[in-house]
């Protein structure tokens, strides 16, 4: 009988063995689900929503977010492993699997009567050693394009099929290199816009050195394709807006009202005129230069008309974030008033054109001089394919920005996990920590094992070869293509340093917490603060 039931007779609780069993079964369950999706050869899961939308993915982060997890322990594991995804972008599935495996192997030991504290102490020793291994294996990152392509390809291959992954890897790398700020050594991934277009083939996806916007001019006479363009980005209302003052109680006769409205119109016309004046100034008649206005606020038909007459392309209601991107991509600055317009405020793009796709219009602002903001344009015939690509690109970009910012990567293809195992086997230890270390050293092998079995090769044979034969000396990875061993560095397979550190840290912290839980209770608290 638990003490809590004296305090609250309605409380539900589970103690000691029972509590452990609950935690272990949750950890095992969730890792069992994710198991088949690990690695470049992993299989996919199809998620169907109540409304019939389909998502096909093997991205661990996406899976954990989309699945409705009821079990409190399972949802804790899911939260812990996805927590760093925003930053790291990779390695979610590995964390879940490692937690599952460690819990599974800890269960018999604790059932036999060993105190969980002994196990967790050993795990901490193992963690320190694993981190030492990680430090010894890291490879410095250079800003070389082929090297970075290798890094992003490794991440992307675990999300989409190989040919597409290779294609997207090049796109991601070029995008990141474009926006990398050499002086401050910083990368702002927000400056990469991801646009999707349901059109053609996945392999038609491309990098646009400029911006693609999802709307076009709204006037039939407006030019749809211009070259050699000045770009004016502004946040000025070019729309006839009937403000509160000219309504209701404030006028006595309809003539007065008309007069007020007319003066309001006049006001807007003047603003449009100022833009046209600037256009005339920078694009004298006969020159091959053109003018584009991109406005964050609205432009009404009369103003559009005036702009169209001058051959100006006008876009209204641009995305707020695009205003910042535009000035980075084309130069110039975003104007909040038309009063002090000078040619210096203008940006430049070699080509601006509209692309119509069914009901949707897209406007390309392309070939900017030195774009600090670029667009990845995803194309694909199906919706679910595009969602898949979007998630993959996101992770590919994170992988790159992390490895550049960490300054290090580690050899991939299971090399790190195999080395940790080897190091832990050799580690001299006292009798107290031996249980935990042995346990972890066995558990971490689950990742290379699952990688191999997902690729359809003989798990035992290959892993044993890697661990105990002569081929397995030094840094060795698993060649999933041929079921062989190879050097991941020469094959160009790199994992993210931050992801591996996260793998070790997060899994041991969660496992420690779960193992040390001796009682689970639900005592009518509607929510925990």
């Amino acid at each position: 009988m638990s003490a809590i039931s004296i305090l609250n007779p309605k409380a539900e609780f589970a103690r000691a063995q029972q509590a452990l069993a609950i935690n272990v079964s949750a950890a095992k369950g969730i890792s069992e689900i994710m198991k088949s999706n690990l690695g470049p050869k992993g299989t996919m899961k199809m998620l169907v929503s109540g409304a019939g939308d389909i998502k096909i993915t093997k991205d661990g982060n996406v899976l954990l977010h989309e699945m409705q997890i009821q079990h409190p322990t399972a949802s804790l594991i899911a939260k812990a492993s996805t927590a760093h995804d925003d930053v790291v972008g990779d390695g979610t599935t590995s964390i879940v699997l490692l937690i599952g495996e460690t819990m599974k192997s800890a269960e018999p030991i604790i059932s036999e009567g060993c105190h969980p504290r002994v196990v967790t102490d050993g795990l901490v020793v193992a963690k320190d050693e694993a981190q030492k291994v990680l430090e010894s294996m890291k490879i410095p990152v250079s800003l070389d394009r082929t090297f970075l392509i290798d890094v992003s390809r490794t991440a992307l291959r675990t999300k989409v099929h190989q040919v597409l992954a290779d294609h997207l890897a090049a796109i991601c790398t070029d995008a990141v290199l474009n926006i990398y700020d050499k002086e401050s050594k910083s990368i702002d991934l927000h400056m990469i816009e991801i646009m999707d277009m349901q059109h053609r083939n996945e392999l038609d996806s491309c990098l646009v050195r400029g911006l693609v916007m999802d709307h076009g001019g709204r006037h039939p006479d407006m030019p749809t394709s211009l070259s050699n363009c000045y770009i004016l980005t502004c946040n000025v209302s070019l729309e006839f807006e009937k403000t509160e003052v000219n309504a209701g109680f404030f006028y006595s006769s309809s003539e007065k009202r008309e007069a007020l409205l007319a003066s309001e119109r006049e006001f807007i016309d003047q603003r449009v005129q100022k833009i046209i004046d600037l256009k005339k100034q920078v694009c004298p008649p006969g020159s091959d230069k053109n003018f584009v206005v991109i406005n964050q606020k609205g432009i009404d038909p009369l103003s559009l008309d005036a702009l169209a007459k001058e051959g100006i392309m006008g876009l209204r209601r641009a995305k707020r974030r695009n205003m910042e991107r535009l000035s980075l991509a084309c130069g110039g600055m975003a104007m909040n008033s038309v009063d002090d317009l000078t040619p210096d405020c203008l940006g430049y793009a070699a080509n601006v054109y509209e692309h119509v796709l069914g009901e949707n219009k897209f406007t390309y602002v392309e070939d900017c001089k030195n774009p600090k903001s670029v667009t990845i344009l995803l194309k694909g015939p199906t919706k679910y394919g595009m969602v898949q690509m979007k998630d993959a690109i996101r992770d590919g970009l994170r992988a790159l920005s992390n490895s550049i910012q960490d300054g290090f990567v580690v050899p991939g293809a299971g090399a790190f996990e195999l080395s940790v195992h080897k190091a832990l086997e050799k580690l001299p230890m006292d009798s107290r920590s031996v249980l935990g270390v042995k346990l972890f050293s066995k558990a971490i092998l689950c990742i290379p094992k699952i990688l191999v079995s997902n690729a359809g090769h003989d798990t035992q044979a290959l892993i044993n070869r890697a661990l105990y034969s002569k081929d397995g000396e030094g840094v060795v990875g698993l060649d999933l293509e041929n079921g062989d061993l190879f050097n991941p560095v020469s094959a160009g397979i790199y994992d993210i340093y931050a992801a591996k550190r996260q793998l070790i840290d997060a899994s041991i912290v969660v496992v420690t917490n779960l193992l040390l839980t001796d009682e689970i209770m639900r005592a009518g608290l509607s929510s925990l603060k």
């Binding site: 409705q68 509160e244 707020r320 929510s527």
Partner: protein, 573 residues
């Protein structure tokens, strides 16, 4: 000037979608083609093309509801299919031959791969024992009821009777899955939770708004339908802040909707003190967000007293249906909104939304009261004699806790629909009151208002087309009552006749709203005589349900201060 401005509607919350579904059903362009009505569909509907390149009109709406409440609404958007699947179920009576078994099975394959059974509203076998409805008899009431099933609990989700589709459901429909706010329970209870959800989806929401706005040539403003009792208030709060930022010059009409609080199991659980406190704090937070970012707002619902632990719904004379059903009560609200919005839905509106709001919010009185007489009981009399005899006694308020006091109000808007010119005065009356120059409905009402309520400003709008009561709008009254008050009756619909009713919808800028505000401030314990302790208990209960970093105590106290300031603007007069 004459062009109608576009309005974007938000339906935030389950009940808001109930009201919205009715509201758009009433305007359905497929049964009210543009050339047949005085109304321009451009205002609330957008034109698009489906894959067959046909022109389709779809509502310009962004909707939010919990995933569980969607049912099978909008599985496909109008882009994919011209024939809405919801209508297939509802109108199968008229074309039973069209239904293909395979098609149906395909449509209803559910999650686990099981085939869900389609419940057809009108089974063709049932039609055999149906007799031709005879208008006016009790028997026909039953017959009609049996056939069309418009009872209060026939529709438990709004998707079942909404006849319209969304154009691009991916962008405009936000199904909120439970992991986003509270994995343990299926409910979105507090403002803070809602705000959290909004922060997670704000990019998509902002894109959705922008897409609609970019298409509009004369964006007029926004209609904001929000459930004011639960966590959807937080989502609305987030949206309002964005609108205030980006579209500050557009008019925004905020409608805080109140669930009719039926007396059933689901709701009895919610009648505890704790739930009550959370509910009132949600309302207060929503109102303060409305005060900050909207032009005019109101609380809207059939509930009698939203500040009691056991709210119950108002009784409407003559309504034969159960007003505690969301399907029925939302129909009453939608009908009022339909009438109230009709002046700015005209082909060339003389009274656009921003003018209406500026009448209602004069002197900073941002909260308004909405009233309705539905139908306006003229009966067989003329308008003149009806007003002479009963005045506006048929007018009932749809703002909970507020009464319409025409004597005291500053500004009133009356929208009268469906009374034709020749019904204004009879010949004998014209002879009798020669001095009065009454030629139109507007003139008649104007004269009456000026004579009776001298202190206020009256804006009177007269719309000639009547309100059409027809399927799937519930038949709120019995046949006899409808026949007495309707101006026409037609049998165009297989589900029963349509009635044409005169209606009156009103909105008031009145000091009685100050009392409503005073009440909520008093309950929460704000204002000058308030106690910080009391305020704290309200805050803590609602904060316990969410991430406290989003709404801290100071924010909450600020909300109440905001409401106090609004209240003071009423009492200073």
């Amino acid at each position: 000037m004459g062009t109608p401005g576009e309005i974007i509607t938000f339906q935030v919350g389950n009940y808001a979608n109930f009201v919205g579904a009715h509201f758009f059903n009433l305007q359905d362009p497929n049964i009210n083609p543009d050339y047949e009505t005085d109304f321009s569909h451009q205002v609330f509907w957008r034109e698009g093309r489906n894959l067959q390149k046909q022109k389709v009109l779809t509502p310009r709406v962004l909707m939010f509801d919990l995933k569980a409440n969607w049912g099978n609404a909008f599985i496909r958007s109008s882009k994919d299919l011209s024939e809405p699947s919801v209508v297939t179920a509802a109108s199968s009576y008229s074309h039973p031959a069209k239904l293909n078994k395979v098609d149906q099975a395909e449509k209803n394959i559910s999650w686990e791969g099981k085939v869900q059974k389609v419940v057809l509203r009108n089974d063709s076998s049932e039609s055999e024992d149906d007799t031709e409805p005879l208008p006016g008899t009790v028997k026909s009431v039953n017959a009609v009821k049996k056939k069309v099933k418009l009872g209060p609990y026939d529709f438990c989700s709004w998707g079942e009777y909404a006849k319209w589709r969304l154009h691009n459901a991916d962008e405009a429909a936000f199904r909120i899955p439970n992991f986003m706010y509270n994995a343990g329970s299926d409910e979105l209870v507090s403002y803070g939770q809602g705000l959290d959800v909004y922060n997670k989806l704000h990019e998509n929401v902002e894109d959705g708004i922008r897409h609609y706005a970019e298409e509009c040539d004369h964006l007029e403003g926004f209609h904001m339908l929000v459930d004011e009792y639960d966590g959807f208030t937080g989502i609305a709060g987030g949206i309002m802040e964005y609108l205030g930022d980006e579209y500050d010059k557009k008019a925004c009409l905020g409608l805080g909707l109140n669930y009719p609080f039926p007396d059933n199991e689901n709701w009895s659980k919610k009648r505890t003190l704790k739930e009550y406190k959370i509910r009132v704090s949600n309302t207060a937070q929503l109102w303060s967000s409305f005060t900050r970012h909207s032009r005019v707002f109101t609380s809207f619902g059939v509930t009698d007293d939203i500040f009691s632990i056991n709210p119950c719904s108002q009784k409407f004379a003559n309504v034969v249906q159960d007003c505690t059903s969301p399907y029925i009560s939302s129909a009453i609200l939608a009908a009022t909104l339909d009438s109230l919005s009709s002046p700015y839905r005209l082909h060339s509106p003389t009274f656009p939304l921003h003018e209406m709001t500026s009448v209602l919010n004069a002197f900073g009185h941002k909260m308004t009261i909405i009233g309705s007489a539905f139908p306006f009981p003229v009966g067989q009399q003329t308008l003149f004699s009806a007003l002479d005899k009963d005045g506006f006694s048929s007018l009932s308020t749809l703002t909970p806790n507020a009464s319409i006091d025409l004597q005291k109000s500053f500004g009133n808007i009356f929208v009268m629909r469906g009374i034709s010119q020749d019904r204004v005065m009879s010949k004998s009356e014209t002879r009798e009151y020669k001095h009065a120059d009454i030629k139109s409905v507007t003139a008649c009402l104007e004269l009456y208002c000026q004579e009776s309520y001298t202190r206020s400003v009256h804006v009177i709008k007269d719309i000639s087309s009547s309100f059409k009561l027809r399927y799937p709008f519930p038949k709120l009254y019995d046949d006899t009552y409808l026949d007495t008050h309707s101006t026409a009756k037609r049998f165009t619909n297989p589900q029963g006749p349509s009635w044409f009713l005169p209606t009156l919808a009103t909105a008031h800028n009145t000091p009685t709203t100050g009392k409503v505000l005073e009440r909520i401030i008093g309950i929460i314990g704000g204002g000058s005589e308030g106690s910080a302790m009391k305020l704290k208990t309200f805050y803590e209960l609602s904060a316990a349900t969410c991430n406290t970093s989003l709404v801290d105590f100071e924010d909450f106290a600020d909300c109440i201060t905001e409401l106090c300031a609004l209240k003071d603007s009423y009492s200073s007069e």
